[in-house]
């Protein structure tokens, strides 16, 4: 059985806090779960918090990048928050750029960023 990452809903946004080190299967499962949840709730924004992650290798980076692209196709903006300094430096040195990705310092600032990006109206409206 694969561990699944819990996805919470706040207004029109989905919040995910990744609490443990991602192995490949969990990462792929997470991708599926998130896209399904976006579809189910019609959420316009997603915050993925990576504060507890201390290693992101090229594979995980790809999974995150893909999740962001796929969410975009489904009409949702994604903000990555809490990337640790050590992880940021390693990613940059590995040569992984994750351009066009929205980032914020923490969950709170992540939500603020989404609020700005989506505009006040979209933020509050619950299409369900």
């Amino acid at each position: 059985m694969v561990a699944r990452i819990p996805i919470l809903k706040l207004y029109n946004c989905l919040l995910i806090s990744i609490q443990w080190e991602l192995d490949d299967q969990t990462a792929i499962q997470f991708q599926e779960d998130l896209l399904y949840k976006i579809h189910e709730t019609g959420a316009k924004g997603v915050v993925i918090d990576l504060t507890s992650i201390d290693v992101i290798d090229s594979f995980i980076a790809k999974v995150l990048g893909d999740v962001i692209s796929m969410s975009k196709l489904m009409g949702a903006k994604v903000v990555l928050t809490g990337i640790q300094p050590a992880v940021a430096i390693t990613l940059v040195e590995l040569g992984i750029h994750l351009q066009e990705v929205l980032t914020a310092l923490d969950l709170e600032k992540g939500l603020e960023t989404l609020q700005r990006e989506l505009g006040e109206k979209a933020w509050r409206t619950n299409p369900m």
């Binding site: 080190e21 192995d23 201390d54 290693v55 090229s58 594979f59 980076a61 990048g65 050590a86 390693t90």
Partner: protein, 133 residues
């Protein structure tokens, strides 16, 4: 405290195991947090390469001593089909599996020393070292 330990890479879970081992050894050798991240990520990349291209191999991690510094030596060995063109593989952005292609040049940047030998018969051996500063 042994000087050498290893993880056989057969399934995807072994990549995680190799990372854990690497992180623990790096912590013991008192590398800073950023270097710990560099080492662990490099090991993850190497283990993944074995898993993706060779199907099977092992990651060996050794504690080594230099002139007034300690170091971690990571040896990634497999009996896979070998790398056809080492120079090409060491170019940034080159990828045969559609991954991000961060691969080996990235590992070289993260670590202090890097050496690779590869042949059709013998497979590939990558040796890489990071020293405490």
């Amino acid at each position: 405290m042994e000087n050498e330990s290893y993880v056989k890479i057969i399934s995807e879970w072994d990549i995680v195991a190799a990372r854990q081992l690497g992180r623990n050894v790096a912590k013991e050798l008192e590398f800073g947090t950023v270097d710990q991240a560099r080492i662990t990520t490099a090991i993850s990349e190497l283990a993944r390469n074995i898993y993706l291209y060779a199907g099977q191999g092992e990651i060996r991690i050794e504690r080594i001593n230099g002139r007034d510094k300690r170091g971690i030596k990571v040896i990634a060995a497999d009996n896979g089909p070998g790398i056809q063109d080492i120079r090409k593989v060491m170019e940034d952005g080159y990828s045969t599996s559609g991954g991000l292609g961060a691969g080996l040049p990235g590992v070289k940047r993260l670590m202090d020393e890097f050496d690779i030998t590869s042949s059709l018969e013998e497979g590939t051996i990558i040796t890489t070292v990071k020293w405490t500063r």
